[in-house]
Amino acid sequence: MAYDWLKNNTFHHSEFADLERLVEAKQDKNLKISLCLPTLNEEKTIAKEILIMKSELMNRFPLIDEIVVVDSGSTDRTREAAEAYGARFYPAADILPDTGNFMGKGENLWKGLYITQGDIIIYLDADIKNIHHRFAYGLLGPLLLTDQIKYVKAFYDRPIALGKNKLRSTGGGRVTELVIRPLFSLFLPELTQIIQPLSGEYAGFRGILENIPFPIGYGVETSMILDIYTKWGLEVMAQTDLDRRIHRNQATLALGRMAFVIMKTFINRKVKLGLIDLKKQMFDEMIQYNHVENEYQPVTYKMEGLERPPMIEVPAYREKFVRGN
């Protein structure tokens, strides 16, 4: 396998630190850019994320045209914090209510497509503790400065917060190394060149994002890569090194559930493409065990792996975005 993509389509955020150049490219191409932040109880990090992006990439350099928060029903002060710094806040349930409502990051990203105006949409997780505007311009750089790249993923050194005052300088990519990379190696080795396929930060042209389905939960990152790869090839993708990202650590059991959904998404895609045959339907429950009073008790999580269709197939969306392409 050639590693040309890794060499040619991997960038470092510092290559795009000349923000005037990005603004010029944006204006030359007559593009609008939206930043979409999916949230669920992010009062501790959301305000910081919005104000830094607004200061640096809206007020000082007009790169981003709007900041939109799509929320899954926060019970803390996420809404107040977001609005205090000028973001538009939407409960996911209020967007396209006729299509129903599900809880999950993928659901918020999908609905974000409807509510944003941009030709390019940047998706950033809202729990980044060391947020910096490079998280946005590092993703925008390849989209604005090249013609062939339509979708960019982040990767980084990921220290994880292990509690008060403790950071572990490596790790944080456990599901990637234990689940995704083995699966890619087995079936689609070319995709192993994507350093962190599960990173929560990516940006893409609307024309790409509106044409792919969105799983409502954890599988959204995996499915995006697989669908874009299948429809347009690896060449439209790129990845940018954003250096360091500090985020919340997740317990092993939670990662187990994440791995379940990701594997299911992956296998479903492979079945659809005729790459593997399943003799029997997969189950949709993840079973884990708790040790309580000298007994192991099963805890079952139903994860059906629901998916939203490509947004372009939603009539209300087509009505709103009548475009020539």
């Binding site: 009062e43 501790k44 990090t45 305000a47 910081k48 104000l51 830094i52 607004k54 200061s55 640096e56 007020n59 000082r60 002060r77 107040e80 914090a81 205090a84 710094y85 000028g86 503790k129 060391n130 910096h132 917060a161 008060k164 005052n165 950071l167 500090i246």
Partner: protein, 386 residues
């Protein structure tokens, strides 16, 4: 009314519209750990921010102080200095990720002195946004190695090597809004170290205990008679020692500071403490060392000095009540060089030196507006020829 006072309230309002960028500077700089002697990364970021904001000259001096110079409109006026210390008393290992909400920002070191550094880094952007131009060059200096054992080395070096006269200076501290320092104590900061010599093999159970010896020294210090005039005091600020609960402490250290309006009184008290330490060492037959970490001379500009009067007027204009006490910050070094200077606080806050230190956002706008007022006052010539 002097012209420098006219627009201060409007400036405070205008600053509210710039809040995202001011807070961004505070957060980005504050999240970069900068314990004393390890300020390099924060200094570089500070310089990058100044450069991003189009400051005419950005440089690092021979002592690694990051400095930006905004060129003035005339060449014959001496420069005005605006300084904030870059270092904090917070270790690198402590979580430096700040939490911002609608009214406050919380995070280690924010009040001392991330908000000061963030405000300093925001000044070029603020000047531009408010259309402020100055006759003098404005020198924005983030000074390193200021607090504790840093002993104000950064500012000492900067002023020692600065070759031209300086028109006046403003020192920025995070808090507390309303502070107006224009004098500094005479001061000696010292540390007493007690070590019990260890012998090999079995140790006798009832050896002298380093903590108890320092306790005895504290008792003797507390018995010293200090004059009310010149005002003088001894602060016992820091103590450490011992290994575990059931073991006699072999080592202990005591940090203290002598402060007085009079240099000679500081010297006298230090002599008294030296005698106490020597006596205890002799009596208990232990190793006692008295180290001087830093010292400052008492200096002041008077309340009647036009700079102080201008600062008071600026604060009154913004409905701030000035509170004046001697300070021992960068101010001391300016005053020691006969450069008129004041120290101002940017905002209100709480838990200054804890990990959960918190600053209030809203008062900051008046805090920065008063700084603009004082810079404008100096630029209008209030310090000239005094």
């Amino acid at each position: 009314m002097p012209t420098y006072l006219e627009n201060l309230s409007e400036y405070a309002d205008a600053l509210r519209t710039l809040k995202e960028t001011i807070i961004t500077n505070i957060v980005l700089l504050g999240q970069e750990p900068a314990p004393t002697f390890k300020e390099k990364t924060r200094s570089q970021l500070f310089l990058d921010r100044l450069s991003d904001f189009g400051v005419d000259e950005c440089t690092i001096d021979g002592y690694q102080n990051p400095i930006g110079i905004i060129r003035g409109t005339t060449k014959d006026k001496a420069p005005i200095f605006v300084v904030a210390h870059m270092d904090t008393a917070v270790s690198k290992d402590v979580n430096h990720n700040y939490v911002v909400n609608e009214e406050t920002i919380t995070g280690a070191g924010i009040m001392d002195n991330s908000v000061g550094v963030g405000a300093l880094a925001s000044l070029p952007f603020i000047f531009k946004s408010l259309g402020l131009k100055f006759e003098s060059d404005i020198v924005l200096a983030g000074v390193i190695q200021s607090i504790g054992r840093g002993n104000l080395r950064g500012i000492r070096h900067l002023l020692k090597t600065w070759s031209t006269p300086i028109r006046g200076a403003v020192c920025i501290e995070g808090g507390e809004l309303g502070r107006l320092n224009y004098s500094s104590y005479g001061m000696i900061r010292g540390e007493i170290e007690c070590a019990i010599p260890m012998e090999s093999g079995f140790e006798p159970q009832f050896k002298p205990n380093a903590i108890l010896i320092l306790n005895e020294i504290i008792n003797q210090i507390l018995q010293l008679c200090l004059p009310q005039r010149p005002r003088s005091r001894i602060i016992i600020g820091k103590i450490s020692g011992g290994h575990k609960h059931g073991l006699i402490a072999y080592e202990a250290a005591l940090g203290f500071e002598i402060q007085s309006d009079s240099d000679s009184m500081v010297k006298t008290i230090f002599g008294d403490i030296t005698d106490i330490v020597n006596g205890a060492g002799h009596e208990y037959r232990v190793d006692l060392k008295l180290n001087t970490i830093s010292s400052l001379h008492a200096s002041r500009v008077g309340y009647a000095h036009p700079l102080v009067k201008s600062a008071v007027a600026a604060m009154h204009r913004l409905n701030l009540k000035p509170v004046s006490e001697p300070s021992e910050s960068e101010l001391s070094i300016f005053l020691a060089h006969d450069i008129p200077a004041v120290t101002l606080g940017v905002t209100r806050g709480r838990d200054y030196h804890r990990e959960g230190a918190t600053m209030e956002i809203e008062p900051m706008f008046n805090g920065i507006a008063q700084i603009l007022g004082v810079i404008l006052a100096i630029d209008s010539g209030v310090c000239d020829g005094v």
